[in-house]
Symmetry: C2
Subunit: 308 residues, 2 copies
């Protein structure tokens, strides 16, 4: 199936305990597109880059079946750039530099050829930008998934609350769920957030897995215990791209299929952490993904006869 | 089956965001005994209390089939007492008072009637005390499980390293695993610790579940997302008691059964957190446990056809 992937395409520069990445390609929409296209979807990219963005990176996406008509190339400005340093725990990081550049005035225009898609992934951006894309859709997609972050809760809470009423699935991490709901208990947080608009909520807990709350039910997906988290940049976007990508590919948005989609998203995110940037995502084949999914199956598999 | 439960029996006093407990009964061996006896085991308690310990608490254990011949009652000294205050997150706490009292000179003597048990649970105590019990066993139990904490890693690392060589399963939390191994990655930490003696390692991650490493395999058990963690005191001991209790009851120490045992331990620990001290453990029946185990089955249940 087709899906629209809205988000940044950018340069990242990362310092980790394992080394320095140099200037590499990143951005939410980049990771979403890699994850969703591995699953065989037609991904329609909606993003903005500057004159300095390498054309071969766009061609590399095209070769995977990613359409880039919706990627605006601004001739006289630079691409978004972010530099960060990870702490030893690889869970926390400091921003060393953030240059918005083209992203500062990003007003995405949905191309006519993107209309009619059933799946819309709104990657992390200003909630007004996310809303503008929803409003441009002539027919409402079957499923709208929104990713956001604490920055927008701090600076654009009203706009975020507004767009939350228009989406089906919200994807945030545990501290963001606590901030948005003002509840420490994630169960209580989920109950409050599900009253804000979305019918499903995914709470990501990094190396501690993810929770899905929907239809009064809860599902827990583990993260794969890794020898080393080499670079977690983009893992959340990859997770989201794998999640919506699996739903789109199977064209099934039931609770049971969302559970599978979270496992697929987690499996893809685990690959993402193994090398800098999108490097690992470019290498892996569908067979690698299948093998990794089997590791997840094994990881939580148990049978218990409760009469014991 | 029979099992020995070594550990403290004590008074606790807890301050939480939900209220104050007053002086209540606690101690590792108390929680272990409640958890293991719910499963229908014959638990042989090995502990020490002072003249102030209520006899009806010992009788309450006896009524559950817990033998207390190995509980020394010191006529002229007080029981161990600990007072603590939980922070808002309920994950961290401050010790406000610790009075060792009888526990300071605890030299457990294994009664003749305790000999021959197949399962030995060494609750959190000085590693020398744990070792002394192993050495008193005339025939080696089929399975020895050891619980410990960062305090002994700080103050008695050599003795801890020594006793680790004599046990089968080590149960610690994630920060303790990192401290003991000097590795941040839990996968690497597990690899190192399994070279120190135990053949199986359980790493508890509190509200983020638990990992079992054994035979080159790994299993992840979730924690049940709770509306509220009312009082986590004793949850780790309850987990350990449920774990070894299930293995003893089924008399099966294979990897597959250890996975089930971790689910049972997690289910019992989730009850423990719902009220102060042992209150909830005294209330629940085996049917409640079965229902809760089913919630764990549901929580992680998914089926995926990887050809999708």
């Amino acid at each position: 199936m087709s899906l629209i992937s809205l988000g940044s395409m950018a340069f990242d520069e990362l310092e980790t305990p394992f080394g320095q990445s140099g200037k590499i390609i990143g951005g939410a929409a980049t990771y979403i597109a890699y994850a969703a296209s591995i699953l065989g979807n037609n991904v329609k990219q909606l993003s903005i880059v500057g004159y300095d963005f390498p054309l071969e990176e766009i061609e590399s996406l095209n070769k995977r079946g990613v359409e880039t008509e919706g990627v605006e190339i601004v001739k006289d400005r630079k691409s978004f750039y972010w530099k960060g340093r990870y702490h030893l725990d690889m869970n926390t990081r400091d921003s060393l530099a953030t240059e918005l550049n083209v992203l500062g005035d990003f007003n995405p225009v949905v191309p006519e050829s993107y209309q009619g898609v059933d799946f819309l992934m709104l990657g992390n951006l200003h909630p007004m930008t996310q809303k503008s894309v929803i409003r441009q859709m002539k027919s409402r997609p079957k499923l709208i998934v929104l990713d956001t972050m604490n920055f927008w809760m701090d600076t654009a809470l009203d706009e975020l609350t507004d767009v939350l009423k228009m989406v089906d699935v919200l994807v945030i991490n545990d501290s963001e769920a606590r901030q948005l709901s003002n509840e420490y208990s994630l169960v209580k947080a989920a109950r409050k957030i599900l009253r804000m608009g979305p019918t499903s909520l995914i709470i990501k807990k990094g190396e501690n897995g993810a929770l899905l709350f929907s239809e009064g039910k809860v599902f827990f997906a583990p993260a794969l215990p890794l020898d080393e988290v080499f670079d977690p940049t983009g893992a959340g976007d990859t997770f989201a791209g794998g999640f919506i990508g699996y739903l789109a590919k199977t064209n099934d948005i039931t609770f049971d299929n969302m559970k599978r989609a979270i496992i697929v998203g987690s499996a893809l995110a685990s690959f993402c952490c193994e090398k800098f940037g999108t490097e690992r995502m470019k290498e892996i084949k569908i067979e690698d993904l299948h093998e990794r999914i089997n590791e997840f199956v094994e990881l939580v598999d148990f049978k218990i006869d409760i009469k014991n």
